[in-house]
């Protein structure tokens, strides 16, 4: 068989939304007559059949495994068995923390064509070509996979559109080989709240990044945020340095600022992980002294200038 195999993701009983984005990516890539199968792994994979029954899916493969949550050995073994049986042309996984943990090992072991953080995928003269970023997203890089029968691509989140229409794909139970995992998942821990801020509910966020330079500058921006009525957030380096609690960190690995409508980023250069977490925001204003900062690529408005000067001037208006 050929076709496209999508590896869905679930965590704590919820299908991760990126799973359906992968179906969207597969939809754009499938050739006439080519089937899209979606595999879901878990101790009770059946429960995700409803959520995965969307347009563009021909078959759902339920893969019952012992580990209820992501486990690298389990995934490598089961996805490896799926690839061996189905012999797909393309395997699509998410560029996510779970996939960081197994995709490269699987590709290396099975000698699959392999690229990660892919945001465009197409066929050029019949050859699969994936596009990703390089040098801090300053360039785009097209990669191909000469001589590879199967190509595994880890797809960037928030790029491809999830299908909205429901469908009734065929459901097949896939028997994965039993595996004695060398790791054991224990428990999940919510990021410890350093204060009682609810970033997820905040509609207006003022975020500070590495560009503020030193911890002594934090109070000035806290005061500014209060004055303009914004919730103060920060990028990863600020939280890692302990200048603000982790609960204030926004971006992919921090709190998802899901309600945010106006986002002012001061001195945030915009690592891809940060930008991915803020892409849904309607109005992003970036203030940065570096005109080349990648945050200007996603911001609606950009101010190239000194963050402190702009902050002082802005304060006078409120």
């Amino acid at each position: 068989m050929s076709g496209i195999l999508v590896i869905a993701e679930q965590r704590r009983g919820e299908l991760r939304p990126v799973s359906l984005e992968l179906v969207g990516a597969a939809e754009g890539l499938r050739r006439a007559g080519e089937a899209v199968a979606v595999a879901i792994l878990g101790s009770d994979p059946q429960r995700f059949v409803g959520a995965l029954s969307v347009a563009g899916v021909d078959e759902i493969l339920t893969v019952k495994v012992a580990a209820p949550e992501f486990d690298a050995d389990t995934f490598e073994s089961a996805v490896g068995a799926l690839i061996a049986e189905r012999n797909p042309d393309v395997v699509l996984a998410a560029h996510s923390v779970d996939s960081f943990g197994f995709a490269a090992a699987l590709a290396a072991r099975l000698k699959l064509g392999f690229a990660t953080d892919v945001f465009r995928v197409e066929r050029i003269e019949g050859e699969l070509v994936a596009t990703r970023g390089g040098y801090g997203q300053k360039v785009s890089v097209e990669v191909d996979f000469p001589g590879r029968r199967t190509v595994l691509l880890a797809i960037r989140g928030n790029v491809f559109k999830a299908p909205e229409q429901a469908a009734s794909p065929r459901v097949t139970a896939f028997d994965a080989p039993q595996v004695a995992s060398r790791a054991a998942g224990r428990e999940f821990i919510e990021l410890s709240a350093g204060d009682d801020v609810d970033m997820a509910a905040a509609e207006f966020i003022l975020t500070i990044g590495r560009g503020i330079g030193e911890e002594a500058k934090v109070p000035q921006f806290r005061e500014l945020a209060d004055a303009i009525g914004a919730t103060l957030g920060c990028s990863r380096p600020i939280a890692d340095a302990g200048w603000l609690p982790k609960s204030r960190q926004v971006g992919q690995s921090g709190k998802t600022a899901s309600a945010c409508k106006l986002y002012i980023a001061m001195g945030v250069s915009g690592a891809i992980q940060h930008l991915a977490g803020m892409k849904h925001v309607n109005t992003i204003v970036a203030v940065n002294s570096d005109a080349e900062a990648s945050i200007f690529g996603v911001a609606k408005y950009g101010i190239v200038g000194d963050v402190f000067e702009i902050a002082e001037e802005l304060r006078k208006h409120f």
Binding site: R11, E69, F70, A72, V97, D98, F100, G101, A103, A104, A105, A108, R109, L112, G113, F114, T116, D117, R132, G134, Y135, G136, K138, V139, S140, V141, E142, V143, D144, F145, R148, R182, A183, A184, R186, F188, E190, L191, G229, P237, D240, Q252, S253, T256, I272, T283, V285, A286, F296, G297, Y301, G302, I303, V304, E309, E312, L314, K316, H317, F318
Partner: protein, 266 residues
Amino acid sequence: MKIMVAVKQVAALDEDFAIRSDGRDVDADFFIRDLNEWDDFSLEEAVKIKEAAAEPVEVVAVSVGADEVDESLRKCLAKGADRAIRVWDAAIEGSDSVAIARILAAVAQREAPQMLFAGVQSSDQSFASTGIATAAFLGWPHAAVVTSLSLAPGAKSAVFRRELEGGLLHEVEIQCPAVLTIQLGINTPRYASLRSIKQAAGKPIEVLSLADVGLNAADVGEAGSLSRVRRMYVPDKGRAQLIDGDAAQQAARLADIIREFKGAQT
């Protein structure tokens, strides 16, 4: 105990840069080279374990690259690595992260560490694959995006937390030896003192060839890679509508945007 830390010298780009004439990379003249930010954290984690241990722990920094990489390895030596190893051969040019992983695994087989750390990803190519692919070649258990670690020298297992999306951590116990990819923020990397920088300058860096680690040209470069760069180009970007003027004018426009937003809310 021995901990191997795989490090990479990454390239940031000069403000004005040019694509190489073959269109497949940036011209190296525009590279600003430095030790990968993630690797600073994984090295620090290894050095912290060494300093806390009652028994001797050796920290070995390993990198793949031409002689300019020595500068980053000296930085590792200055920050507490005991030894540094660099592997290079002209055939390695054009290797992707998986081909590099094959080399690192070959070094690990020679060195037989009890633990191997790598950064979650590199800041230049950001594949987030080298460490985990290295584990595959070694046949070792592995985990990605480790944000805290409890590892006692000589223990049969380690406990760590991996950092998931959306402010969630997952605690996992893993058998040793293992490969862990280390996330930013797991510790606070130290600055090298002037004294340690001076000492590092005098320390040897072992340079190994492909043959030294038991590999040949077909294992690396394009032949040993799972992907090939076809084309590199500067994308259209800068969608942001720039607010011009001096700081006062820019701030006034920003204040308007904030007031418009607040007006729409009420």
